[in-house]
Symmetry: D3
Subunit: 262 residues, 6 copies
């Protein structure tokens, strides 16, 4: 992990401190998709990585995220500082006001402490890269949501910078994955079982006011897809009886179980 944090030339500035928004910002400081989560996820994946080139890339981005942690923390502190003496500001986040004396802590926007349960580290490079692509998408949308709730120009500027870098990282991880030459659904070493892999089970059906009607799309029709009625439904259509052990198994289920018993 031997790395240099990048130089932050740019001035984080806040025109009008807004303690409630400061608390919201903590989501990206100590929250599930925040900067520490990103920094730790990529750096530790890098530590576990045997692919020299992609290890360096994981460390580059892990290091950059650590510097983003500083940007978000500085921004949040500027917004939260009035909490120190002001009761109405303090009500926005008692934890910050009373325990933290108006400084930032490693909590999310609801005061929950950061936890390593947020991290997705699998010890398998191609799986880790997919986790990272998704993580960057979540971080991008979180910054977008934050921008929607503030009018402060300095704050928006910083959030726009941070939001943009998440897209950059998303590209990096995607290109690093593509260049490994594995197919889009090739994970690990063991092949999927051909008996089951192309069946789509229509498990959720319903007629209630807010039930889901059965919908079709490229994800369950065409290609190799076999659309299989919910086995439960099949059973009851066949027997008209759900209160006992049926003597003849339902079609969809039969297919499956006969396959298992050969």
């Amino acid at each position: 992990m031997y790395h240099h944090l990048k130089k932050l030339m740019y001035t984080v500035r806040v025109d009008t401190p807004d303690p409630v928004f400061g608390k919201m910002l903590l989501e990206q400081f100590g929250g599930a998709n925040g900067e520490l989560a990103a920094a730790m996820q990529y750096s530790i994946q890098g530590l576990n990585c045997d692919d020299v080139a992609r290890k360096d890339m994981l460390m580059d981005i892990g290091t950059e995220e650590l510097s983003h942690l500083e940007v978000v923390g500085t921004l949040a502190r500027m917004h939260l500082r009035p909490m120190k003496g002001d009761r109405s500001a303090a009500e926005a986040d008692p934890l910050i006001a009373i325990v933290g004396g108006g400084g930032v802590s490693l909590n999310n926007s609801q005061g929950n402490p950061w936890t390593a349960d947020y991290l997705k580290i699998s010890g398998q490079l191609e799986v880790d890269l997919r986790s990272n692509i998704a993580a960057e998408a979540r971080a991008k949308i979180t910054y977008e949501n934050l921008i929607r709730f503030t009018d402060d120009p300095g704050t928006i500027d910083a959030l726009n910078f941070l939001m943009t870098r998440e897209i950059t990282h998303m590209k990096v991880f995607s290109l690093a994955l593509d260049s490994m030459g594995r197919g889009p659904f090739s994970i690990g070493d063991l092949p999927p079982n051909p008996e089951w892999v192309n069946k789509y089970f229509n498990d959720s059906t319903g007629t209630s006011d807010f039930g889901e009607t059965d919908e079709r799309g490229p994800w369950n029709e065409g290609g190799d897809w076999e659309f299989v009625q919910s086995p439960a439904v099949e059973e009851f259509k066949g027997t008209g009886n759900g209160s006992g052990r049926s003597t003849s198994a339902a079609a969809g289920a039969e297919t499956r179980s006969s396959g298992k018993r050969k």
Copy 2:
């Protein structure tokens, strides 16, 4: 979420109960990438989803994962049952043995309680689908890792079935995402800032025995990439002095800050 759990025709069978392996199996019952995590992530995303067709799909798969929770739980219980009276079996997992009386609990392979911190739910459909693709990749590799540690044929058969379905779901989520017609790096509504989006910062460098040499690949060269030396390094090359406030800013950083100040 009005749905039917699919009929489980297939017989979960265990030839030789192995309490230590039973504890490992709990990873997919109450662990971070396990079946409850999958069921809850997809079902709650579905509850929040306004796209009728993809909502039904999320509910179908959420429902199927709940039935997988039962398969894994049944398998784990068969392996753990000897814990009830046997001291050496009990040592494998005191929590199961003493509190649970040999039954399963909603813990992972280390006895940690399941937590909603495992879930990735963003309220934005295309982001959720990316999270799900990654989640399925992690679940697939976890089943593969489990298969590596058991010789029991019934157990391997069940794990092979569950592992295969994760690949199926990965396909479903990918096709559902592709058919939304958004570009691979198009997340949310706000565009990335063109000033920053194509820069790759070489933040982690080093010469130590286990340091990372700087590596290049499609993720940081070619295309639109601009490879930017670590600003920290640039600074010290320029000034030969890191112990004070430099009078002339380093090149890479300058580029950036000048952009911010126009």
Copy 3:
């Protein structure tokens, strides 16, 4: 756990969305006594249960609670949806607004993630049934507390339905326990030690302004009860000295220790 979720014919409707109340509702979605907690507690107890009849009952109710999770979640989402764009609504729950995009997450009314630490699963059927009776009482009172804080007719209607079902389940669990033919205080296999079982220790005494005077009732007088003065008090009455190792043990304590040393 092979089960069908019950059909939800009834229309969840909300006349006036109230984001702050929506956040309160999350208590029964992702909170300690909420619907997921109930669904998981009963279903996993069922998975561990060797009594075929009561196992089916645990699964019936576990399944019903899963459908209640959907009712509460739908209700909460209707109340929380305005968070998506409205800053003052967003302040009610930054986590929902910023991370969740206005959708529900598996948190309680304070933003704490759901945890399996809420569950009480013992691997012993009669103990589990007692845990369930208590759980239903807590869920009932929580719905009652929620009803107190809203005027919305659609919301009250749904909460009244859910509240009622908790009483139903409480009856079911009580009858299932009674029909096992065990005495009210018969737990497990080992009998209590007759030397200790009928003693009531008066451990908390006091004369302070808000101290508790010693009170008597059927729980410590009459029947087989032996009311034993706080051993600490006895000691100091006997010796008038609490600052050293007393040479003659106090009465109440003596009784006990002599029993242990025979």
Copy 4:
């Protein structure tokens, strides 16, 4: 909470230290049903209680449980002490050995830190008493499970004492509840809705190898019970079609929804 901890005359003794069993014992020190959980649950309920007599009772038992915490902790420390210098003992619980230097910590048998999520405190006395009855049942069975895994006479003696007191407390709480004169299913102030309270929904059905056949018992037949077929099943029997919005609703569901819409 002004109280005296009871005098512990009795000698905790351990003949043969057993570090693995010591770790198991921590379940009752820092675990979900352990002594701190009991002490805190009852004492805090007492703090919230307006019924003077039962408040004193809650404080008496809360105080006694604190003294039991000391008994269990002393016992566990005697078993764990060899961890200090012995590598094979240390493997039983690295956390105790490395961080704790062989002393006890407030963790459970798997090393999880104690959490207030274990507590059930409702602010409603009759609900709290039911939670306490269940808590005592769980504590009793946990001690019984522990006794099964040790042969050490001193340890068994202490566990037998502690196990017995749980039965005592269970009696106390039951008598305190009974003497409040509330019916067995009377919780809070709001009555259950008569339309729903006596229906038993047969939600979990199945024909799979480990599916649950539908079972009847006093908990769903006789008395006021109305046994209602799973609405989902009813629907499919009626229409033979689960893939669309049914035009005629199923019987069981109809009953319900018509009730809601009057």
Copy 5:
């Protein structure tokens, strides 16, 4: 832990209940530096302690902190009680209002459940005493912060009492540590390595707008201190190149590695 809780003669009184402040007070009831944390930390350290005199002291203070838990809890309940029926009060803490019925729970000011992760227990007396000195400093400042946010005389009086006792305890722990006759930096048995112990690494440098200029003080100059430039900086000064494996190692680092390789 055989102890008596001290008599609380003093009347906790609240002139004007303030639910939002009541929630803030919970920080010292169920928070990281609160009274339960103190009581448990000292009592469990005492349980592990072989030094008879300091063990008694740890128990004395652990016991006193338990009585403080009651003072804080009583105070918080007086402030929170209006939550029971008042919607606007309830919004201050939904968890207390809905689940707790207006009573206190073992949570902090943000609704997070108390966790044993707050505790610092090392199994080494002199280390524990240092942890306790720091814990008392944190508790003192938390009470000071709380006093700043209330005008209620009864509340201020109680908080002043509690705040003062933390200073008392800080003195006790310091004197107990000093009288052990260990040097200020003597921890455990193993001596520090003389090669490394007196070097101060200037690892954080910078020229950014909010970067830290390098500062000197008694903590890195004078005495035995050797001030070592950040090895990373040294390297780049030496080679002017951070993008490859340098052939000649930088000065500061060399010193170190040559020491390791002798």
Copy 6:
């Protein structure tokens, strides 16, 4: 936080991988007193700090701890790598083996995820420095405990280096605190109440076999100390009656309450 991680010239080497010891090492990677906890505690304190000189110092040490995180992680990975394919190695830590594929994760030695609850950040510099002194003492003893459980020379060498640096940091924090010129018990702005600050309450007394006899030392006699008998004991000596509301209050308590009521 603009900083450079120090160059790690020194080769982490492991002669004989020992997966069980690797798991123990994780305590200092993702545990309560480990390197991430140190790095985050100091860096975030620095972010909140207005004292320019000591802010730089906090950043220097926070940065150094991040590089130590890398050393410990590298060491742990070398010990854990055999888990990838070896069942008996995998049993040492199923989480690492199955989820992590033999790589490190941010967990402690018992598999608990790292949590910000470990951190002590008060927003008050002199309090933070005291927390840091204690934190370094705990880290030092943890490394010492680890050294006791391995014979591997490379591992011992690395742990000796890390252990030594904790003593260095302890010195730095102590000197930074001393040079602030505050008295040893001067915390924050509000003075302690002279009525209470010099009283030592003898709250824990006892005569049981493992009870604590009352001990005296510089922490409760001499100087300004007033040794006050446990109020509870005083009461019972006076009245010989603990079962009712006493008419005359006990001496020690009286002193106190009279003070409060003036």
